[in-house]
Symmetry: C2
Subunit: 191 residues, 2 copies
């Protein structure tokens, strides 16, 4: 049995993702959580506080997924990149609407978005970059490449694929797109 807090947060995630932050109403969130609107305000001081808790909750979740799934396979660069890309793509695809909405809110909620998108993925990002740097020392990646920027270029492709998905899903499935991105990246970093 889920706690009322959790039900409200789950509902808020759905409604924020669907209607946007200022488009989401406390009434609709409460309705979606099957809870009286008053109960919502008994659990969360106000809409802003609810938003904060939603972000904190989601950040923890993302961080957990990133940290639980080991992606680095020693001596197998291709495999490592594929794993990393697949985990990263998986997380954002599962939270497609939510992710899209909050990138749209970047200017209006910079701090929260930083926690949501940067802090939660930081350990995994650093681990991936460290792996690339090691591979670069081992001559598996060309020396003239800035692997930090390159890593962000990879996640950027995957992110854009999700954000644009409603515009492109008639053209190709997202999985195909991810494959091409990984393919491009791997060929692109070769010496």
């Amino acid at each position: 049995m889920k706690s009322t807090d959790d039900r409200i947060i789950e509902a808020a995630i759905r409604v924020f993702g669907r209607d946007g932050v200022s488009g989401a109403t406390t009434r609709e969130i409460a309705r979606s959580a099957r809870v009286n609107e008053v109960t919502l305000f008994r659990h969360f001081k106000n809409k802003d506080e609810l938003l904060r808790q939603v972000i904190i909750q989601c950040s923890k979740r993302y961080e957990h997924v990133f940290n639980e799934a080991p992606f680095a396979t020693p001596d197998d660069l291709r495999h490592t990149v594929q794993n990393f890309a697949s985990i990263y793509a998986g997380v954002i695809l599962e939270n497609e609407d939510f992710v899209r909405t909050f990138f749209g809110e970047l200017n209006r909620h910079l701090k929260l978005c930083q926690r949501l998108f940067v802090d939660s993925a930081k350990p995994a990002r650093l681990k991936f970059i460290a792996y690339l740097q090691a591979a670069q020392k081992g001559r598996l990646i060309r020396r003239d490449l800035d692997v930090v920027t390159a890593a962000d270029a990879l996640t950027g492709m995957l992110l854009a694929g999700v954000i644009r998905r409603p515009l492109t899903k008639a053209l190709y499935p997202y999985e195909t797109f991810v494959e091409t991105c990984v393919d491009l990246f791997l060929k692109g970093i070769e010496p």
Copy 2:
């Protein structure tokens, strides 16, 4: 001397970009256009109609930029890709807030966003893809690559770079990121 219509649309572009679609108020748009709020409603039936006109106006602008700037240089793949990337990056970077906001609105205004992001860039996109296909026939690009998806991967990197910019600009300037993307892409498509 700019027409009142134009002043209102310019203001709406700014305010929509800054405050989001449902966050933007007609009062604030009017204020920003230095026009009485009543005047705004005399020129545009309602907020939705103003939104439509804003999108139409911006689409035309983007389309114009894409069509005016010739990027294809025969027999110089690198140059062509660089040109295309630089034009594409230029347009979205100049409209950073607006672009971010409306990608966040993709689910809620699919049709308008399609016009804004897909239709306006369609001719340029097709031209670029045709160029890549020709280069692929000329053995400048590896045969196993799906150039359509690859082209979208390139624009995806550039787009994500802009959308994430408030989160990354402390790390590297956008221009550096664009260079790395083009570099990765060019190496990635080589036979």
